[in-house]
């Protein structure tokens, strides 16, 4: 059946089918991890609640059922878009997550744009000017960017640009000025990684025969670098960044805490500490969906960068 599909479409369908086991695994993992953490009854009810009140609470949230049954109920509800109700806020967990999601996506999206728009050109420049001052300064900044603690970088940016020079507000959410510091903070580590990978990828590709051929043909150096070399040099960058998207979203926990950013990161930290099971599960699953969809996008980009992949 699938053999009759054209190769490009078959590739797409195959990748989509791989989403299912990933999501089942993540939902099971989220469920088990959270259930291991114990009974929320003691946290949520007053210490002097009677045993009857505790039983009624457990019954209302299905906590008195066998664990396997709880999981099956939970998955069948998930399939219908019902992620349960937050223990603390009494509202649907999915709605609470989706309310916070735009702020996190705005922050993460801006950070990714910074990573790509700054990291790729700087990496190309460092590779083309290998051994120059530009290259060494780039390498030094990359080493610093990979070693700096995110929360400290955020606080330093606040001290210098918000407290010292008063260029931007120190925290808060809503205006473009308030987005600048958190986005740079979240981007820093991945910017360093992207620059390093672009540089090493370009150095490798520039030594290949087809680049020499392109140069020998007499086309301009810019066309050689950007048309022939860059597309191939970007493949390792895409792999690593695709894998790091989950880390970037999780890293927003720290950045959002530093800048009081009202996103999913602060929500997941609060709800884990309060053992708000439904909310934690909703966050993990929403992040996992984003992560898998992004990785699917990365795979499609690969196929664009390297047509051989489509026919594997």
């Amino acid at each position: 059946m699938s053999l009759t599909l054209p190769p490009g479409l078959r590739f797409l369908v195959g990748r989509l089918a791989q989403l299912v086991p990933t999501l089942v695994g993540v939902s099971l993992f989220a469920f088990v991890l959270i259930r291991l953490s114990g009974d929320p009854t003691g946290l949520l009810l007053a210490p002097d609640a009677t045993e009857a009140e505790r039983m009624a609470f457990r019954h209302a949230y299905g906590l008195d059922r066998p664990v396997a049954e709880q999981y099956l109920r939970y998955v069948s509800r998930l399939a219908q878009g019902d992620f349960g109700v937050s223990f603390f806020q009494g509202e649907p967990a999915l709605r609470l997550v989706l309310e916070r999601l735009p702020a996190t996506l705005q922050l993460a999206g801006t950070a990714i744009v910074i990573v790509l728009v700054v990291g790729i050109p700087v990496g190309v420049l460092a590779a083309v000017r290998r051994g120059s001052v530009v290259d060494y300064v780039t390498l030094a900044l990359v080493a610093l960017g990979q070693s700096v603690a995110t929360f400290w970088l955020g606080l330093m940016l606040i001290i210098v640009f918000a407290v010292g020079w008063r260029l931007v507000p120190p925290s808060g959410f809503g205006t473009t000025a308030q987005l600048v510091l958190p986005a740079i903070t979240l981007a820093a580590y991945y910017l360093a990684v992207a620059t390093r990978l672009t540089r090493s990828g370009m150095l490798e590709v520039l030594a290949q025969d087809y680049v020499r051929t392109a140069r020998a043909k007499g086309i301009s150096e810019a066309l050689t670098v950007f048309r022939h070399a860059l597309r191939n040099a970007l493949i390792p960058l895409l792999t690593v960044l695709g894998l790091q998207i989950g880390e970037l979203l999780a890293g927003s926990v720290v950045t959002e805490t530093v800048f009081a950013w009202p996103g999913v990161g602060t929500l997941v930290l609060d709800s884990i500490l309060r053992r708000d099971y439904p909310l934690v599960q909703a966050v993990i699953i929403v992040l996992a969906v984003i992560y898998t969809v992004v990785n699917l996008g990365v795979d499609l980009l690969y196929a664009w960068c390297d047509p051989r992949i489509r026919y594997r």
């Binding site: 695994g25 991890l33 070693s147 606080l155 880390e247 805490t257 930290l269 992040l287």
Partner: protein, 285 residues
């Protein structure tokens, strides 16, 4: 013999590696010699000298090199004692995670296809799941204490070690010296520890050094979020977090511990890069 001297020369002539060794070495020295290099203990409070800036000189003529914190404690002394906690916790987490990783990597390499598949899929899942969320989740379950912290650091680092060891096993297993040892009747444990392990030390050292930086960062991040080392025990992360309410009036309380983190992590990363270049220029991690 001449191989190791070539490696040593490549290593000592590499300025990046030497810089990394100096940074990490000085941090290790400060950690080990904290009572000697720190004028105060980490919890000596003096309410009269709260939030004094770096290089402030007291009436008695004592200079506070890095200033004092909101409780009037000497920031430099706390960073020195914090080095003890941060470096030793990260080091212990690395030993634990590295030990488990080496064991599981050997199991995957020698233990047959089922063991190999189980260990490698577990490593894949471990590496695919955001490590910070996993750490926060486990701490929420098990409570914020040193044992949980070590477990979380070990969890963060075992998979990379396991993959490295398994890769080396697959490479080394078919070498003639190993085949000869097997032909002479050496059992799998003897093969693993006498023949294979010495051959995989180089990549393992490189991976472990790079992981040390990652673990120092993870420990300080968790302590910053209030999930790692708890006050009054000083760790660079919780010192930074305690200084946060005062960043508008006393930047140094927040800034100084961060420089310590940066120096230690940068040292580990540069040393890892330098070791990789010296031991095997082709090795890419």
């Amino acid at each position: 013999m001449h191989v190791s001297s070539r490696v040593a020369r490549a290593f000592t002539r590499n300025p990046v590696a030497m810089l990394g060794l100096c940074l990490l070495g000085s941090m290790a020295f400060v950690a080990a010699a904290a009572p000697l290099v720190a004028p105060d203990s980490y919890d000596d409070q003096d309410a009269r000298i709260r939030l004094k800036p770096p290089l402030w000189r007291s009436a008695e003529g004592r200079v506070y090199v890095l200033g004092t914190d909101p409780l009037g404690r000497d920031v430099w002394s706390r960073i020195a004692y914090g080095a003890r906690v941060s470096v030793s916790v990260a080091g212990a987490g690395l030993l634990l995670g590295g030990g488990v990783g080496v064991g599981l990597g050997l199991l995957a390499g020698f233990g047959g296809r089922v063991a190999d598949a189980l260990v490698m899929r577990a490593a894949d899942i471990q590496l695919a799941f955001p490590s910070l969320l996993l750490a926060i989740g486990f701490i929420a379950v098990l409570g914020a204490n040193v044992a949980t912290l070590l477990g979380v650091l070990a969890l963060r680092s075992w998979a990379v070690h396991a993959r490295t060891v398994r890769g080396s096993v697959l490479l080394v297993r078919e070498q003639e010296s190993v085949l000869a040892a097997r032909a002479l009747g050496a059992g799998p444990l003897r093969l693993a520890f006498r023949e294979v392990l010495p051959n995989m030390l180089a990549p393992l050292v490189v991976v472990a050094t790079a992981q040390l930086g990652a673990l120092i960062l993870l420990e300080s991040t968790l302590s910053f979020l209030g999930l790692g080392i708890q006050p009054p025990r000083p760790s660079w992360g919780n010192m930074l977090s305690a200084g946060r309410p005062y960043i508008t009036v006393a930047w140094w309380v927040t800034a100084m511990p961060g420089f310590a983190i940066l120096a230690a992590v940068l040292g580990a990363n540069l040393l890892g890069d330098g070791l990789r270049d010296a031991l095997d220029p082709r090795l890419k991690i």
